[in-house]
C-alpha cells in the first residue's frame, strides 16, 4: 500500500533562476542544496507548510538522463509551456494571486470558480505551469 509522496520533480531550464522563483517569489523553503561537481546541483524545496514533500528542481542537462537531442527537445517543450506539474493549495486565492502578481509572477489562467474550488494557473520562470487552488470549504 502506498502511503504518501516524498519527492516529485519539476524540470527547469536554470536552477539559479528556479531557486529565485520558488524560494524568493513563492516562499518555498530550501530542503537540500548540494553541489554534485562542476555545474551539477541537487536542489530540492518544500512548500512552506509541508516540510516533508521535496520538490526536485531538476536541470535539463545533457547526460545520462537526457541525450543531447532529447535535452534540446525537452527544453523546448518546457519553454513552450507544455507541462503542468503540480496543484498547490492556499488559504485565500485572491490574496495569494495579488501577492504573486505584485512579485511579477505570470498567470496562465486568472482566478476562476471551479466545481472543486477557486483556481488560477501560474507559470514558473522556465515555462512550467501549476495550479493554485483554494479548495471549497466542504472538500
Amino acid at each position: 500500500m502506498i502511503t504518501s509522496a516524498s519527492h516529485f520533480t519539476i524540470f527547469v531550464l536554470n536552477q539559479d533562476s528556479a531557486y529565485d522563483f520558488y524560494v524568493k517569489k513563492l516562499g518555498f523553503k530550501v530542503h537540500t542544496d548540494a553541489s554534485m561537481g562542476p555545474g551539477k546541483r541537487w536542489l530540492t524545496v518544500t512548500p512552506p507548510e509541508q516540510p516533508d514533500l521535496e520538490i526536485n528542481l531538476m536541470a535539463i542537462d545533457e547526460g545520462m538522463m537526457f541525450k543531447k537531442e532529447a535535452a534540446e527537445k525537452m527544453r523546448e517543450l518546457v519553454k513552450e509551456g507544455t507541462f503542468g506539474f503540480a496543484v498547490f493549495q492556499c488559504n485565500d486565492l485572491m490574496a495569494t494571486y495579488e501577492e504573486l502578481k505584485a512579485k511579477g509572477v505570470r498567470f496562465k489562467k486568472e482566478p476562476k470558480r471551479e466545481f472543486y474550488g477557486f483556481e488560477a494557473l501560474f507559470i514558473d520562470d522556465s515555462g512550467n505551469w501549476s495550479s493554485l487552488t483554494e479548495k471549497n470549504k466542504d472538500q
Binding site: T9, T32, S35, G37, G63, M64, M94
Partner: protein
C-alpha cells in the same frame, strides 16, 4: 469610504501590501496598529481579513517570519544572540521561548543540528538524494567526485 464597503479587489491589495510590509520590515520595531492604519482598516477588520488570507493574525505572522528568518541565519556563522537581534527580537529569552514553541527545538540545538547536516551534505551529498535520481544523473558512477574538485 469605510473599508467594509470597498470592492473586494481593493481590500485584497491592502492586505497583500500589509503582508509584504511585514516580509520586508520584520527586523524592525513594527507596530501592527500602524500597519492597520496604513491599510485604512479598523484594527479588528484588518486582523480578521489578514487571518482569513494567511491563516495567522498579523502578530502571529510577524513572529513566524522572524523565526523562519532566524532559522536561515542559524545556518550561517552567526551566534544565537546575533540572530535574535538581527530578526527583530529585543531579548534572547523571548526569542528562545518563541523559537522553541514553533520549531520544538531551542535555537542552539537547531544551530548545532543544521551545521552538522550542512557538513554532511557537503561531505556526502548522495546520502540526501534518492538513488534512482542519482543513478539517472550518473552521480553514482563516481561516488567520491567531491574529492576531485
Amino acid at each position: 469610504m469605510p473599508s467594509e464597503h470597498l470592492p473586494k479587489f481593493y481590500l485584497y491589495r491592502r492586505i497583500v501590501l500589509a503582508k509584504l510590509f511585514i516580509d520586508e520590515h520584520f527586523a524592525e520595531n513594527i507596530n501592527l496598529e500602524d500597519i492597520a492604519g496604513e491599510a485604512f482598516f479598523s484594527k479588528f477588520h484588518f486582523i480578521r481579513l489578514f487571518k482569513k488570507a494567511y491563516g495567522k493574525t498579523p502578530h502571529q505572522y510577524l513572529i513566524w517570519v522572524r523565526i523562519e528568518n532566524a532559522k536561515l541565519l542559524l545556518q550561517t556563522e552567526a551566534t544565537v544572540t546575533d540572530v535574535c537581534y538581527s530578526v527583530g527580537f529585543d531579548g534572547t529569552s523571548s526569542f528562545t521561548h518563541l523559537f522553541k514553541r514553533i520549531t520544538k527545538l531551542t535555537p542552539s540545538v537547531y544551530l548545532h543540528q543544521q551545521r552538522l547536516r550542512n557538513i554532511e551534505i557537503s561531505k556526502s551529498p548522495l546520502k540526501f538524494i534518492p538513488a534512482c535520481f542519482a543513478e539517472q544523473k550518473g552521480w553514482l558512477e563516481n561516488r567520491n567526485f567531491q574529492q576531485l574538485h
